[in-house]
């Protein structure tokens, strides 16, 4: 969706949500004094890219993750501003993660006459021949596994409640070209979709408390942009058994490659190799869609309020509020202030100076001497045109006789003959 469309959609949602929220019966009854709603102020995403190419530590690679930041600001609709706002719960439930790597594949599809080329991007060193077919195909992973659930860390600020959540904890660069490693992950862009549930409590000076829950559907896309790949000068390898050689950075064996591979060229260890280039990873993240519903909880009366009924306690909804509010209010998406997600500044981590692998010496191809064309006649002239003409440099070969003179001569002879014969016959008759 284009940014303009997102803005427009978000604005519409915000207005609609605000109106619906105000008209909500459950909320309106309690909102006669103070009314608060949530304002999704911003949404940003960043890729934890620092680990991808700068640290020869596979563990960090594996933990590379997307970080999306959703900033929510409480907004007073009517009444006074709350004295305090407290985030009571926030959760992110990933729905699906789609990864794509559509256009970069050809870059890594080079053959391997140059040994260095065979080491780019996660080629298992032992997969002879060195050339390989990289299947950077699109795949979609849908998960609700708890292991993929978000890590939520929030901070509370009455002026602007913000927190971040982390998704897709297992995204890392593709390793290998086939076999288990190939399915471990892909590099490129990916889309993460999920649901953010928020609950916070606003409290006023008079002791009034108000719970508000919000559900926001998030769909974010981020990708990587690589540059200067052609300038790659060295290779890093992870998980080696040779432990030596130019460009080798031996570290511990990767579990996916427990046996390791031999290194006939003495350049590398084994395991997985990354061609080191100026991988200027630019992270682009955008909020593809943002829909939500804001549901006010019943107001909790302040403790010392004399008008408290005889019942011991007002019924307060249990803290882990069901994601779908039980109240029959119309669920209206409401994001008062649509905010276009700011694109995160792609902070490219400083890459350590890679070890340069010496370029293999390229043996020049032997010069092929063209066979001389043998012609029966000396052909002195060769035209600069692509095709030389053997005989006449300036004209095409003659492929037919010119019979016009022949026919003319024959006609004259016949005409003369006819004349003579007529003359002779006439003379004979006269005699």
């Amino acid at each position: 969706m284009k940014r303009a469309n997102i803005k427009k959609a978000a604005a519409s949602l915000a207005v609609a949500g605000l109106l619906a929220l105000t008209a909500s019966p459950a909320f309106a009854a309690e909102a006669s004094q103070n009314e608060v709603t949530l304002n999704v102020a911003s949404f940003t995403a960043a890729v934890n890219k620092a680990n991808y190419f700068t640290t020869p530590d596979y563990t960090e690679l594996e933990n590379a993750a997307n970080t999306f930041t959703l900033t929510v600001t409480p907004e007073v609709v009517t009444g006074e501003a709350p004295a305090a706002v407290e985030l009571t719960s926030a959760s992110f439930t990933p729905q699906s993660v789609s990864e794509t790597n559509p256009e970069l594949a050809p870059v890594w599809r080079d053959n391997a006459d140059d040994i260095r080329d065979s080491y780019d991007f996660g080629v298992p060193v032992g997969s002879y021949p060195w050339e390989r077919e990289v299947a950077y195909t699109t795949f979609t992973k849908t998960t609700t596994d708890a292991a993929d659930a978000a890590t939520v860390a929030g901070t509370i600020d009455p002026a602007g409640l913000s927190f971040s959540f982390i998704t897709a904890p297992t995204h890392h660069i593709v390793l290998g070209t086939s076999g288990p490693a190939a399915s471990a992950g892909e590099v490129g862009g990916y889309t993460t979709e999920g649901i953010v549930d928020l609950t916070y409590t606003a409290e006023w000076d008079g002791g009034e408390k108000q719970n508000v829950t919000a559900r926001v559907a998030v769909s974010a896309f981020s990708d990587y942009e690589y540059s200067n790949i052609s300038d790659a000068t060295s290779v890093w390898c992870f998980g080696g058994d040779s432990g030596g050689g130019d460009g080798d950075i031996p570290i511990e064996q990767h579990p996916a490659n427990p046996e390791g591979h031999s290194d006939p060229y003495g350049l590398l260890g084994s395991g997985y190799c990354f061609r080191n280039a100026e991988y200027n990873i630019a992270t682009r993240a955008s909020l593809l869609s943002l829909t939500g519903e804001v549901t006010p909880e019943p107001t909790v009366p302040a403790e010392p309020t004399p008008t408290v009924p005889a019942e011991p306690e007002p019924t307060v909804p249990a803290e882990p509020t069901p994601t779908v509010p039980a109240e029959p209010e119309p669920t209206v998406p409401a994001e008062p202030t649509p905010t276009v997600p700011a694109e995160p500044t792609p902070t490219v981590p400083a890459e350590p100076t890679p070890t340069v692998t010496p370029e293999p010496t390229v043996t020049p191809e032997p010069t092929v001497t063209p066979e001389p064309t043998v012609t029966p006649e000396p052909t002195p002239t060769v035209t600069p045109e692509p095709t030389a003409v053997p005989e006449e440099s300036s004209s095409l070969v003659r492929t037919g006789g010119d019979a016009s003179l022949t026919y003319l001569a024959g006609g004259i002879l016949l005409a003369a003959a006819v004349g003579l014969l007529l003359y002779g016959r006439r003379s004979r008759q006269e005699a």
Binding site: P390, V397, L421
Partner: protein, 222 residues
């Protein structure tokens, strides 16, 4: 005496005139056969195994195998024009010199691309012999070239009448300076029918390649 002389001279001139007029026809009648050498090459191609070309070498591209053009005067292949009859079978030899074309075969111009290869394969032949009836060709007609490696089916795209000095017909794209994108075939013969002041050009583009093993199928000659 004068009367007899006139009659005798008239008879002599009449005989000479008939002889002069009949000479082109007689010379054509006694010209080397256009089909015999073609059939001889056909026999060789049938008997010979296809050239050993491996994908990826310089003799193949996009699934097409090319046959190298040999040295001057050697056989290259056979040309068929089915629309001009089943017996329109012509031998192709290397070299578009007077000597070669006077053998009543098609001569391959020096610098031509191999059959099926992107660029221009240029063949020249006599109007009264190996390329007779070329005027009857129409756009869309097929011209088939057979070599040791297979059959190259070209489709005629246009006809031109040019001056003998228009050497651009030998370019990779005939009569153009553009870079070749397809495999072209150019046939050259003399024009008009009784003279050689111009050249008739038939230009065709490769539309199909079939390996030699397909001989006798797909409408290909055996």
């Amino acid at each position: 005496m004068r009367r007899n002389f006139s009659l005798i001279l008239g008879a002599v001139l009449a005989t000479a005139g008939v002889g002069v007029l009949g000479y082109p026809l007689l010379s054509q009648a006694f010209a080397p056969s256009a089909t015999a050498p073609a059939h001889a090459i056909e026999q060789q191609l049938r008997a010979a195994a296809p050239a050993d070309a491996t994908t990826g070498d310089e003799n193949t591209a996009e699934g097409i195998t090319f046959t190298d053009i040999g040295s001057y005067g050697t056989d290259y292949g056979v040309l068929y024009i089915p629309s001009l009859g089943e017996e329109y079978v012509r031998a192709i030899q290397v070299g578009a010199t007077q000597e070669v074309v006077d053998r009543n075969v098609l001569g391959v111009y020096d610098g031509s691309e191999r059959a099926g290869e992107v660029g221009n394969l240029v063949l020249a032949g006599h109007r009264e012999g190996v390329l007779n009836d070329l005027r009857l060709l129409e756009e869309g007609d097929h011209i088939l070239i057979r070599t040791a490696d297979g059959f190259y089916r070209y489709t005629m795209t246009r006809e031109e009448i040019i001056k003998p000095t228009e050497m651009e017909v030998l370019n990779d794209v005939p009569l153009s300076k553009e870079a070749a994108m397809t495999a072209m075939l150019t046939l050259i013969t003399c024009y008009p029918e009784w003279g050689n002041t111009e050249r008739r050009i038939i230009i065709a583009e490769l539309t199909e390649w079939l390996p030699a093993s397909e001989a006798g199928t797909n409408g290909l000659p055996l």
